[in-house]
């Protein structure tokens, strides 16, 4: 029992909305020993982050702990005074947030934020904690550990910031660190590096950790035991290997099964047929800097081309060139064999209508003040010229196509829909123009896996029914595997490899494709160890990318 560090009993948490308190967490228990790592997993709304923060005795505005106890090393953080809690926070319990870019103060240098904890908690002097910070940066394999701390957050890349934040959490050598989705915002190749660093340092200092994530494969690498959550309730808890190999609950099994969706291969393209969209030697620039270099690929009727790459690789810029939002500097785009005007303002209604877009953030892509009927009705009226009853009928038919009951949803506002439903509205809006071609820009990356799978299935069904062609922009190789027919791999604005999906997932690959593929975490707890052994610690992440 002396090993017990954190003991949560009967934790109930409520959130305020519309003047009433609604339950978010309905009585969760959690035990954590010194040096142990527990993974909390679940979909959005499961209450993972809320529990993570509550284990620091902290709740966000409009959220309160209504019942239960959070005992950290003998102190109940629920009843402890604010001053007592402050003495523990940062010094014995630390937090690593999801977005390091947003969680570092933009006004101060990294090292100043690093030394703030130790000096304020009287753990060490400024100069001591500064040299310790540099040592931690070195151990976390940050480039230029001597110098990187003296930069401002915006001068450092996302993956490096995430490691600097882990170093900051380590500054007072806490007993417990809460990692709240620390790699979710990162590219796969960067993710590995951060995962390896976090795991190393947690082991070195024998720190206990709560690792919150929605990615099962990630948690499999990091945690000793896993707790699955659903809507504020515990589904089950077991040690990592047991949980992966033999989950007992249906819900857990359904989470495990998501990755298996894969649509059957389509017949090959008839050679000589005219592609729907053809990108011809496109070079494009923002300002004076070229960001795309000689990009060419074709998209044929009824087929899905996945454009894959990490952030900054030029995927979305390519989409902007196709839609004419960013006229290419060199090259052009053909539609059904006809060259399109470079600038969308010079395209006629018919040309505009044929290419539609669905966006990553359905939240921000829908006007919050327009009802669903108005949002979908607008392109119906604009492109098809339908009005009044006919328009309403068409919108109703579109809603049926995206599997939402027209009478129920026609007059709703976006705020009354779930994330997946909003994305379906985005699909219906694109379909309203009756296009031949749709660009899907990371349409599932903001969604939970189960919901994302539903969207992918819907897109596949629509493609079969309407003969649509998709350009599917994504950084997620599981999505590529699930939906694409052909794959275009991009890096730094250049197409490094393209071809049929089946060929892409079979060796031999272009080295970058190989790096991308092998960087996707797998549901095997030994995956990270094996990978590090195979590649060596200095040959993962940014370092490996830079060597290309």
């Amino acid at each position: 029992m002396s090993d017990q560090l954190l003991k949560i009993r009967g934790l109930k948490i409520e959130g305020r909305s519309d003047e009433t308190w609604n339950p978010i967490i309905n009585g969760v228990d959690l035990d954590l020993n010194k040096g142990e790592v527990i993974g909390l997993i679940g979909e959005s709304g499961a209450g993972k982050s809320t529990i993570g923060l509550a284990s620091m005795g902290f709740t966000r505005d409009g959220v309160r702990i209504s019942e239960g106890s959070v005992v950290f090393d003998g102190v109940d953080l629920v009843t402890a005074s604010a001053a007592d809690k402050r003495a523990l926070l940062g010094s014995r319990i630390a937090y690593v947030a999801q977005s390091a870019a947003a969680s570092f103060n933009p006004a101060h240098k990294l090292i100043d934020q690093h030394t703030e904890g130790p000096t304020q908690h009287n753990v060490s002097s400024r100069s001591e904690s500064q040299s310790d910070g540099i040592e931690l940066y070195r151990r976390l394999r940050l480039p230029n550990p001597e110098e990187i701390g003296f930069r401002y957050p915006h001068q450092v890349s996302g993956g490096q910031l995430q490691r600097a934040m882990t170093a900051m959490a380590m500054a007072c050598r806490p007993d417990l660190i809460i990692f709240d989705e620390p790699t979710t915002a990162l590219d796969v190749t960067t993710q590995i590096e951060v995962l390896a660093s976090i795991r190393d340092i947690v082991e070195q200092f024998d720190t206990a950790a709560i690792y919150i994530t929605h990615d099962l494969a990630v948690v499999a690498q990091m945690a000793d035991k896993i707790k699955v959550l659903l809507k504020g309730d515990e589904v089950e808890e077991a040690d990592t290997r047991t949980m992966l190999s033999a989950p007992t609950q249906e819900y857990t099994k359904s989470l495990w099964a998501v990755r298996s969706f894969e649509r059957p291969a389509k017949p090959a393209v008839i050679s000589g047929s005219t592609p729907v969209v053809s990108v011809k030697n496109v070079t494009a620039a923002y300002g004076t800097v070229d960001v795309l270099h000689d990009v060419s690929f074709d998209i044929h009727e009824g087929r899905t081309v996945a454009v894959v790459g990490e952030s900054g690789s030029g995927k979305s810029t390519t989409a902007r060139c196709i839609t004419g939002l960013l006229p290419p500097r060199i090259g052009h785009v053909e539609f059904d064999g006809q060259q399109l005007p470079l600038d969308y303002r010079k395209r006629d209604k018919m040309q505009l209508r044929q290419a539609q877009m669905i966006y990553q953030m359905a939240d921000t892509a829908l006007n919050p003040r327009k009802t669903i009927g108005e949002t979908i009705g607008r392109p119906v009226e604009f492109y098809l010229g339908l009005k009044g009853r006919e328009k309403r009928k068409k919108v109703g038919a579109l809603l049926e196509e995206i599997e939402l009951e027209p009478t129920q949803y026609y007059d709703r506002l976006p705020s009354e829909l779930s994330g997946g439903q909003k994305q379906r509205i985005g699909i219906a809006r694109a379909l309203a123009a009756e296009p031949k071609f749709i660009i899907c820009d990371e349409v599932t990356s903001a969604l939970d896996q189960l919901v994302a799978e539903g969207i992918l299935k819907l897109l596949a069904k629509l493609q079969d029914q309407l003969g649509l062609s998709y350009m599917f922009i994504t950084h997620d190789l599981a999505t590529v595997k699930a939906i694409s027919d052909e794959v275009v791999v991009m890096k730094d604005g250049v197409v490094v490899e393209q071809g049929e999906k089946a060929d892409m997932f079979q060796p031999p690959h272009h080295p970058y494709t190989d790096l991308l593929l092998s960087s996707v975490p797998e549901m095997d707890p030994d995956w990270l160890d094996n990978l590090l052994e195979a590649r060596g610690v200095d040959n993962i992440g940014d370092a490996a990318v830079d060597k290309m």
């Binding site: 923060l53 902290f58 926070l89 940062g90 937090y95 947003a102 969680s103 570092f104 103060n105």
Partner: protein, 332 residues
């Protein structure tokens, strides 16, 4: 840093263009004032001949474009001519009086100095007070202290300035004679005497400008409290005061600086009521007096000065806001 320098030069040039446009508006507006100097000075019994004579003597009979260009070319050289009132006396009393004639610049200069002194004194009290109160009300938001401060500063800003002035006179000059109720200042006074005599108008102005700056400081800070880096600072176990001063305030500077600049401009250009109540010889009084007698050169020079103050202070605020952003100070 060269990027910043370029921005400053750009803004300065833009400010000059603005000032030129404003000069046209001023000239047109002032000339649209009903009545003119000649009729004003000659009174009811003026004959058309005498009016015409005076207008000819002062050059007011020339066409507007010539007069504007004449005025503009003078303004560029900081030569705003001679006040009409001075010119009249010169004409009436012969050549001996010309020695005493003061140019517009000479008339404005001491007044401007007085006004800048009063504005500086008020700002020295009001800005630290407002920012401190803003930080404290943000720290203890929704507490009784917060509500009392909000209500009292809002009451102060909503009351007419002369009313505030008389209240201060009543309490700080009549009932408790701490400060003189008349701000009778002249260049021979020592610094201490200047401050003492200017204290009541400065306090009145402080009451008039504190509310806005305080509320902006409070709002700008509270706006940031939901951001992830503030949550991070709290989760590091820092004291609430440190979270606000060290983590929120540096990121809230831009809007605060803008409001401070606007209030400084008000302190320089909008204080005529306070000057009148305390008989303070500032530029506001000179301006109003000149409008009364249609002393066009003085009015135009004052207007142009006010416009320049606004433009310069806003420019300074813009540049300081840019400098307060670490992304612009330390590019990648």
């Amino acid at each position: 840093m060269s990027g910043l320098l370029r921005i400053i030069v750009q803004r300065l040039l833009l400010g000059l263009v603005t000032l030129f446009v404003v000069s046209i508006i001023i000239f047109v507006a002032v000339n649209a004032l009903p009545g003119d100097f000649a009729r004003e000075i000659l009174g009811q019994g003026a004959t058309e001949e005498s009016v015409a004579a005076i207008q000819k003597q002062l050059g007011l009979d020339r066409d507007p474009l010539t007069r504007y260009l004449d005025w503009l070319s003078g303004a560029i050289r900081f030569d705003f001519g001679i006040p009409l009132s001075q010119a009249m006396f010169a004409g009436n009393f012969g050549s001996t009086a010309i020695v005493d004639v003061k140019t517009v610049v000479q008339q404005i200069e001491p007044r401007l100095y007085n006004t800048l002194f009063l504005a500086g004194l008020s700002a020295a009290i009001a800005i630290p007070l407002a920012v401190t109160l803003g930080v404290l009300t943000a720290l203890y938001r929704n507490s009784a202290f917060d509500k009392i401060m909000n209500v009292s500063t809002l009451s102060a800003i909503s009351s007419p300035e002369f009313f505030l002035a008389y209240i201060l006179i009543l309490f700080l000059a009549v009932l408790n004679p701490i400060f003189p109720s008349l701000s009778n200042i002249n260049p021979d006074l020592s610094w201490g005497e200047l401050v003492e005599r200017s204290m009541l108008p400065a306090l009145t102005l402080t009451l008039a400008v504190t509310a806005q700056m305080m509320r902006m400081t409070r709002a700008a800070i509270i706006n940031l409290l939901a951001s992830p880096y503030i949550e991070m600072a709290r989760l590091k176990g820092l004291s609430p005061m440190r979270v606000i001063i060290k983590h929120a305030l540096p990121n809230a500077l831009a809007p605060i600086i803008t409001v401070i600049a606007l209030n400084l401009a008000f302190l320089i250009t909008g204080v005529v009521v306070v000057e009148t109540v305390f008989v303070y010889p500032g530029i506001g009084q000179l301006f109003v007096d000149s409008v009364k007698i249609r002393d066009i050169p003085v009015v135009q020079a004052c207007c142009l000065l006010f416009a320049a103050v606004y433009i310069l202070l806003n420019l300074t605020a813009d540049i300081l806001s840019i400098v307060s952003n670490p992304r612009l100070r330390h590019p990648k």
